[in-house]
Structure formats: structure tokens, C-alpha cells
Symmetry: C2
């Protein structure tokens, strides 16, 4: 594992910096004129790569001028490599910095936007501890894991139009619910609104037929933090027999920086031991999950923050590459900008659970926060996901994925 | 119900013409230069509306120049009305036809393409006979309808990238399957590949919050025939607990002409009687389903066609407006080009079943075709959906939704 790549941008060299030269994550920012520009984070700055391309320092067929990363991603992995090499050379310690200073904009001065246009959003269910916890709650310990769970990375299609960038407020949804006490269903604001701590994989290279796991791994451009806001009471009533639908369609928040697969390369790790071997089309040929520390913070309106969960992406039983291979197995075309959620990531301990459903055991065991308790989200709560991979003397930070929950709107007449 | 609107384009006045002046369906065509152009069908011709806009006969902010109907749809229902009024005036019997002849291109000379870019695809489950048949097969007659079925239009998100236009060949998919006789799952070509006869609603007007049923009705631009190709054996193994995924992602075929809600207005009809009242947010304020006769034809490679099913869209328990209202209830943003499949449409009789799963009762009762029998699709079979609404002296035809099934590809190494 190599150490810190030093940059002439000093703030990038701090051991706790999220965005050292090793990282170079992809985002979209705007200044006062509200134009969306492609940028790359470095230390306390965003590199205006759209400007660098116009000035002739970079050449990627104008894809950096589009205000979104989709067209660049679709150029394929050679372009991804070339941009990383070019930026590393331009901003490395010792490189000529004179003309480049003007392309550095303080992060504090920019507004961040969706880094890519989500083509379609798929959400998986790949953490064994999460699936076991939820299965135990609703079907009992002996039937916790569905029969197919150890054989395929179970997933469902989500709703791309509901994906928003970190910092966007989220409205508590209305929906049809029917609890065990109800004689008939009711239409009401969700009383069990929840988070899901996930990693999102961004497909960069389009494809039109079945992919091997190795091909799929190469097609993934990078990763974001992902919070799949979930209305548990709506889900319980709607999900049989065709799966979650409106319970998952209010919003899914993502962090604003796509952390490239290249930056995460030193942190690849093997998945948990397989209880049964996978069929050949889903077998990996090396470690394809990542050692990424993850946490969830909850801050009530006007209160102080509590870290309510700590876990690690290495808990995932299936890698994003395996999920993408499975996704394409039937011939399903995949597009640049497809977003694959890992599924809620929970670890073996109680404090490593990635949803409030698990943390409070569906409300039966409310958990403590500074100045109170919680079972599910209350009005005005801000939920924040954070994550980083820890190298020798540097870290690859994801930044934050944050959202505040506002009260439900009054019902339409 | 008004009668035929006569046109100076004589082929549009035949009583059995699919595309009289009353219809004016929206499509996208190309000639030898392969440029995609917006067109409207009339009799045996396509009206080059992109050309009409360039020549100043129409003015819709250049949206007819985009080679796809999404931008026009997003202009909203006033524009939809204005285009229909303008075309009706230009092509009515007695109108000045001189300069317009050059904008009429024989349908026989064009190639048809996807009429719109599918933003996202949602598939519902709104035919009671279909849900009852499937439920009876897999859960027994006493548990046929899921408990939520009479209260919400159950739906799931499908895969937009897999939607193709009529005439596109479809490859039999590979997938993971496990039958009752299998000790362990296998990866194999689907042995139960099937059709689903559906109507697809095309959302035209975008929205960002909950819609009433009345608002939702007004936001629907039009309808297409839709065949949601389905791998029943893959579905059976994968669908618990998160719903259908790869079983539905190989392809969904649609007919090339969007039949406008305006053209179907005379054919609105009331849904089947409600067994239990719907909650207020899902109640309609008038008839919102349609009387549209539908059929499915099967033609083996080198053989002759058999009509294997006849049914009617009036069998749908939930209208597309109710589905769209439900879809938006949690605040889910809807986009121009969202496609909502009705779910398989089956009627009360055996010959009115809209899938081979139902027609052959999951293979237990193979049905007859000219020169053979079928349980599910065999190699080289061409499946064609057709539909029309019947007025006084005219019909609103949908054209065809056709696809031929090719053998599965060899497995990748």
C-alpha cells in the first residue's frame, strides 16, 4: 500500500484530509452564476477541470464542459486513467504551479450538485447481518435469510428521479399503511421513516449483454455514500408480492463526490466467507469489496450530534461487481450513470447496524441519543453518513451525505 | 360518440383504417438517411410534422425537431391540444391540400423507432383476473389475491433501458433458476419464457409531488401496446422478498405509435365494480379506463399465425390515472417519458388470458396453435399484440407490438 502522494496544494497533505492527491474525486459545483461545472476535490479546494480543459491542460472531447460526469464516464476506462494521471502530474509536489492556481476554488465558496445524471437506480440487499436482522424481525430467526440470498445478490429497481444530492431536505412521505391493529388500511404520513446506510456504485462503461464479474468490476467508475430513505410502515403493507415501491421513492440521498475505483484500489478486500459456493457466473477472481469505515450521525433540530452507528463496507457479502454481473445476466443493457446501491450495511454488533429499524429493533428497543431516544426519524432530525478508507499517512474520504427531514405536507384536497 | 372525421387523405377514411383523422398517433420514423423525425400517422401515410414545423405550418418551440416526443410532451396539455387541432384542420376533408402533399410519406417507406425516450419504466398488476389466476396457481384459490390488492394498485419499478420498439428481436435470457426438483440453483436459459399483454401509459406532464387522480389523468399523454417479456422460472426463484428483477429485464416491447388520450376520449369506461371502496386519494371522479379490444397472436418460425388470446382493456381494475396518483403519493417526482405498464390484462374466460403462464396454467394444460401446442415460447416464435377501440364508422388502431424470440446466446467463459 503506497503512502501519501504529496501535492503543492498544502491542505491536501494533512493526514486527516478527505481529499489528498491520492483521492481526486469527481463532483459538480457552481459559483454565483449557477452554471454547473465539473470539478475534482483536492484538499480545501475544487479543481475547475472544465476550465482546465478549455485552457488546453486537459483534452477529453469536451465532456468536461457538460456540467455532469456521464459523458466523460462513457468514454471508458482509458479516459478515466488518463485524467487521473494528468491531474496527478499537474498537482504533484514540485510541479509548476503558476498558471494552475487560478483553477483552484475554495470548497467553502462553491455549491455542490448531483455529480452525474442517474440513468437508473438499482438497490441491492447484500449485507448478511442486515438481511439476517430484518428477516429475524419479520419472519423469525429460523427463516431469517431468504432461500435465494446465499446464491444471488438480490436486488430491485428503485426510482432514479428521486435521487438527490447531500444537503437536500427530505419531506416525510404520505402513504397507505395498515398495522396489525388496523381493521382497514389508512392513508397517513409515515410513522416509521428511516435511513439506510449504503455504498452506491456508479456504472461508467455502458454494456449491452451479460458481463462477467471481472468485466463488471472494470465498468464501475466509482462510489458514493448513499442513504436510501425508507418508510417501513408503507413498505410492510405494499411489498408483497412485487417488492418495495412507494416506501423507497420519496428520496435517496448521495454524497456529492464520486470516489473513483482507482483511488480505492489499495483498499480492496475479500468478502466474508461463503457459506455455499457461488455459481461460476457470480464468482470473483480476486478481492472486490473495500475496507471503508462508515458512520451514521443523528442531530435533532437545535441539538447536538450523536454517532448512532459505525460499520464497514467490508461487511458486504456481494461486491458491486457481482451485483452488476447479476444485473446484466439476462441481457439487461446497462448505461453510464446507472447507480447500484449496496443495500444497508450492518455489522455483527448492535452499534454496527445501518438502519434505525435494526438499531431500535422495529421500535421495541429505542436507542439513546444526546438528550433523548429514537426509534425512527423525528421531525427536524438531520441524518449524516460519513465514510473513509485509511491508508498509510493519508485517507480517502467520501465527504458527507446529509439530509434533514421536514414534516409531511398537508394532504391535498 | 362522434363519427369519422373525414380527411382529404382517402386511405384514412376506410372504416377499418387504424389511423383515421380521429386518431393522429405520435411516432418517430426514419428514411434512408437514418435521421429520426417526429411523425403522426394518417391512413397509409406518416405526416412529417418535423417538416411541417420547419415550414411554418406548426410552431412548438422546435420540440418537433428533436427526433423524440419527450420535449413536446413536457410542453404540457395545452400544446398537446393545439397540435391536434392544427393537424385536424390541415388534413380535414375540404382543407387546402396543395402544399401539404409533400409532407405525407407512405408508411411502407419508413422505418419506425422508439417514439419517446423512456425516462423510467414502472409495471403494475391491475387486472383482477390475471392476479387471481396467478395467485391461484402459486398460493391456492383461497389466497389468490394479496391482502393489499383491492386497496392499492400494486406496482414495481422495471428497467427502462430494456424497453424496445416493436420489431426488435428478443433473445431468450439466461438466469438463475431452481425448480422444485433441483437440489441447488442452476444458471440456465429460461425454459419458461413468456409474454404479458399490457397497455402502457406514457406520462407527458412532469410533476414533483403528490397528484390527485384527476390531476394524474390530465398528465397522461397517451398509450401504447406493451409486451413485458417475462422469464417465469427466473422470477419464481428471485422474487422473494424484493420482487421481480432479472426475470423482467431482458426486454419490454412497445408499439411504435403513442395513441393520445384525446383520441381515446370517446372510449372511456368505468372500471369493474369495486369490492371494497378505495381510500379517497385513489378514488376517480369519472370513467378513466378504456374500451379497447386486444389480441395476442403467435406465429411459429415458418408457420401460420394463431390468435391465442382476446381480451379488453376495460378489464383493468385500476386506471393508469389511479396508478400514477399512487406512484406520486410519497412525493416521487414523475418525468415526461415515464412509462407505466398496466399489468397483464386477462378477462374472465380462458381465451381471454394475457399470458402463456395463464393460457397453459403454468404448463399443466398446453394450448393448441396451428400445427402444434404451446406451454411457453419456443425458439423462433413471433408474438404480436394488436389493439383498437371501435367507434361509429371508424376505429382508433394501435398498430402492432411484435417481437421474435431468438435462441439464448452461448454462455460467456
Amino acid at each position: 500500500m503506497s503512502g501519501l502522494l504529496r501535492s503543492w496544494v498544502e491542505s491536501a497533505n494533512a493526514p486527516d484530509a478527505d481529499f489528498p492527491l491520492n483521492n481526486l474525486p469527481y463532483g459538480v459545483f457552481s459559483l454565483d452564476d449557477e452554471t454547473h461545472r465539473c470539478g475534482v476535490a483536492l484538499g480545501a479546494f475544487v479543481i475547475d477541470v472544465a476550465g482546465l480543459e478549455r485552457a488546453g491542460h486537459l483534452a477529453f472531447q469536451g465532456t468536461l464542459q457538460t456540467g455532469v460526469w456521464n459523458d466523460f464516464m462513457a468514454l471508458g476506462c482509458d479516459a478515466w486513467h488518463d485524467l487521473r494521471v494528468a491531474l496527478t502530474a499537474l498537482f504533484a509536489e514540485g510541479a509548476e504551479e503558476g498558471a494552475l492556481q487560478s483553477f483552484l476554488i475554495p470548497l467553502a465558496d462553491v455549491r455542490l450538485h448531483m455529480p452525474f445524471r442517474v440513468s437508473e437506480f438499482t438497490d441491492f440487499y447484500a449485507s448478511r447481518h442486515h438481511a439476517t436482522n430484518v428477516g429475524t424481525m419479520f419472519r423469525g430467526a429460523e427463516n431469517a435469510l431468504p432461500p435465494n440470498w446465499l446464491h444471488i445478490p438480490i436486488g430491485y429497481n428503485g426510482r432514479a428521479s428521486s435521487v438527490v444530492v447531500s444537503g437536500t431536505d427530505v419531506r416525510r412521505p404520505w402513504g397507505q399503511v395498515k398495522s396489525l391493529e388496523d381493521d382497514a388500511p389508512r392513508f397517513a404520513p409515515s410513522a416509521k421513516f428511516d435511513i439506510e446506510l449504503e455504498l452506491g456504485a456508479v456504472v461508467g462503461q455502458p454494456s449491452d449483454g451479460p458481463l462477467t464479474v471481472t468485466e463488471a468490476f472494470a465498468n464501475i467508475f466509482g462510489y458514493v455514500l448513499l442513504n436510501d430513505w425508507s418508510a417501513r410502515d408503507i413498505q410492510a403493507w405494499e411489498y408483497q408480492p412485487l417488492g418495495p415501491f412507494q416506501s423507497k421513492a420519496t428520496a435517496t440521498s448521495i454524497s456529492p463526490w464520486i470516489i473513483s475505483s482507482a483511488a480505492l484500489e489499495p483498499f480492496r478486500c475479500a468478502p466474508p466467507a461463503r457459506e455455499v459456493p457461488l455459481l461460476p457466473h457470480l464468482q470473483d477472481d480476486g478481492p472486490m469489496t473495500y475496507d471503508i469505515a462508515l458512520e451514521v450521525a443523528l442531530q435533532p433540530e437545535g441539538g447536538t450530534e450523536t454517532i448512532i452507528a459505525n460499520t464497514n463496507a467490508s461487511e458486504l457479502y456481494y461486491s458491486a461487481a457481482q451485483q452488476l454481473a447479476h444485473h446484466s445476466a439476462c441481457g439487461c443493457p446497462m448505461r453510464a450513470g446507472d447507480l447500484l446501491g449496496s443495500g444497508t450495511i450492518s455489522g455483527p454488533t448492535k452499534s454496527a447496524r445501518g438502519s434505525m429499524l435494526e438499531l431500535s429493533w422495529n421500535g421495541a428497543e429505542p436507542f439513546s441519543i444526546n438528550g433523548g431516544t429514537r426509534s425512527f426519524i423525528e421531525e427536524g432530525d438531520t441524518l449524516t453518513l460519513r465514510g473513509h478508507a485509511k491508508g498509510q499517512g493519508y485517507r480517502i474520504g467520501f465527504g458527507e451525505c446529509r439530509g434533514k427531514v421536514l414534516p409531511a405536507l398537508p394532504q391535498k384536497a
